[in-house]
């Protein structure tokens, strides 16, 4: 989503992001994320996202894995609840 902002008295409309100079050189981009719909339950466990309020949050969506193969599965493969489909 974009925002209307004012910098040094000048107004800018529908700005999705700004890029600013960093101390010591280079630039940094800041993006408006107020329209995000991501939730922890919808983001894979172990990865992070930012809420609409800008809070860094870890996802909690867990998956069991479906493996495929032509031989019987190795005992070291997978975790409890995983499925192995043998052709």
């Amino acid at each position: 989503m974009a925002q209307n902002i004012t910098i040094w008295g000048a107004s800018y409309s529908a700005v999705p992001a700004v890029t600013l100079p960093k101390t010591g050189g280079g630039t940094a981009s800041f993006t408006d994320v107020t329209d995000t719909t991501a939730t922890a339950a919808g983001v894979a466990n172990g990865t992070y996202f930012y809420t609409a309020a800008g809070v860094k949050t870890q996802g909690s969506l867990a998956f069991s894995t479906i493996y495929t193969g032509s031989t019987t599965p190795s005992s070291s493969l997978g975790s409890n609840g995983d499925v192995y489909i043998q052709s």
Binding site: A62, S64, T65, I66, I85
Partner: protein, 464 residues
């Protein structure tokens, strides 16, 4: 109607047994005369020689049974042929010497006179008459011998070298063929129904959630049948005898060492009753283990029972330091409780150690029989360990069901096999069919027999 099956077959058989109920031997009959030689075909060259009684008019009746039980009731008997190779000791001994077929004790066809001799038998083709299948289920060969008025002071023999019965028959019965399918789309598992189809016009439809019964439509009439779904499994029991033993570190001391050499080679069979070892000497304690080998058990086996039969005895029961204990272990895990032969007595006996914890396949690899003996402990003569397991079949299900009242005079028992469940994965735009699915449970891959329960509701899945 269900699909009729047609059998057009020929059965060939020979006498299978002596009918001791209906046979009548007034004298000594077949002692040492190899009656079993009569249970062969009509080309046999070995002789059975039953005796007949002495005395004018003495009668011997002997029946030999045929087994025609494989011919279905209701079959149409197209032809019967019976050949008998036989003879008698001498024609002047007998006034009657006939052979004839019978159903039970009711004779069929005509009696044939045995015309050969003991040493030169003849093969007779009998006149058998007409038969039904049910009559054939009680088919016999009747020998009827009556002594004449001369030469009656000595016993005489008649000879049976064998007989052959050939029956041609046809049968029209019912056969049901059952197939089933259960499709799974992608990783969603909610098959709406399983359809089981009866052959011909007989149709059975089974809803997935009501496999306990079925409706068979037969000639427009609904017939309720019971249906049972089974897991199709092949099973096995593997046993092993004990091999080498090893001392547990620090588990042996005392003056019993000189007796320990007797242990080598012991334990190969729990039926042994010769003592091979006892621990003796004040303060003697011995702990040792036998290794058990179950490496041949298939990796997909499900262990259902583990037990060990141990033969031995306690040497004495009078002191608390006197004991002789055995136990199944795997590493540091106790597979069975410890059994103390002291509580059994000082006589040899075979005791069963039952696993209280069913070991995993990996635990089986380290299964051992642990023996712990105290002062005047006892003897271990031998032991045998058993593992009972099942192996899932590649065909996960079969059904049996009984259909009754299809018509007024039929009860049909149908046993079927088949009905493989399938799972489909969409790969590169195409659905790929699979029937072998494992699920990891408690760290082990378990072959799934019911594909409809492979995926858990509320769990997300991703392809690796």
């Amino acid at each position: 109607m269900a699909t009729p099956i047609s059998i057009d077959d020929t059965l060939t058989g020979h006498p299978v047994s002596l009918d001791t109920t209906n046979s009548n031997f007034p004298g000594t009959y077949y002692n040492n005369n190899n009656i079993e030689n009569a249970f062969t075909d009509a080309s046999s060259s070995t002789r059975a020689a039953p005796y007949t009684n002495t005395g004018s008019g003495a009668t011997t009746t002997m029946y030999l049974n045929f087994d025609c039980s494989s011919i279905p009731s209701g079959s149409t008997i197209k032809s019967i042929s019976c050949q008998v190779k036989c003879g008698t000791q001498g024609t002047n001994y007998f006034s009657t010497r006939t052979v004839q077929m019978s159903s039970g004790t009711t004779v069929k066809g005509n009696a044939t006179t045995m015309s050969g001799s003991n040493s030169s038998p003849k093969t007779h083709t009998l006149t058998v008459g007409s038969w039904t299948a049910d009559e054939l289920h009680n088919a016999k060969l009747k020998f009827y011998i009556v002594r004449g008025s001369s030469n009656t002071t000595t016993e005489a023999t008649f000879s049976i070298y064998g007989a052959t019965l050939t029956v041609s028959y046809s049968y029209n019965g019912y056969q049901y063929t059952i197939t089933s399918s259960s499709s799974v789309s992608g990783i969603t598992t909610s098959p709406a129904s399983q359809d089981i189809m009866g052959g011909g016009e007989g149709i059975v439809r089974i809803d997935a959630d009501s496999l306990g019964s079925a409706i068979v439509k037969d000639n427009g009439t609904n017939v309720t049948s019971s249906l049972v779904r089974h897991n199709a499994e092949s099973g096995g029991t593997k046993s092993t005898v004990l091999g080498a033993y090893s001392l547990t570190s620090g588990g042996f001391n005392g003056s019993g060492a000189s007796y320990f050499s007797g242990l080598v080679g012991a334990g190969v069979d729990h039926t042994k009753t010769t003592s091979n070892y006892y621990s003796s000497g004040s303060g003697t304690i011995a702990v040792f283990t036998y290794n058990l080998d179950f490496t041949d058990i298939p990796s997909n086996a499900t262990i259902t029972r583990v037990y060990c039969e141990v033969n031995g005895h306690a040497e004495s029961t009078s002191n608390s330091n006197e004991y002789m204990c055995v136990q199944l272990i795997s590493g540091s895990t106790n597979i069975s409780s410890e059994l103390n032969f002291k509580s059994i007595g000082t006589s040899n006996s075979t005791q069963t150690l039952e696993a209280t914890t069913i070991p995993t396949l990996s635990q089986l690899e380290n299964l051992q029989l642990k023996c712990r003996l105290g002062y005047y402990g006892g003897a271990i003569n031998g032991a045998t360990c058993y593992v009972v397991y099942t192996v899932p079949s590649s065909n996960p299900y079969y059904w049996t069901y009984t259909i009754s009242n299809i018509s007024a005079d039929h009860t049909v028992l149908v046993t079927t096999s088949g009905g493989i469940q399938k799972i489909y994965l969409k790969v590169n735009g195409s659905w790929i069919e699979y029937t072998t699915v494992y699920k990891k449970v408690n760290g082990s891959w378990v072959l799934q027999s019911d594909l409809s329960s492979v995926f858990d509701s509320g769990t997300n899945y991703k392809l690796n």
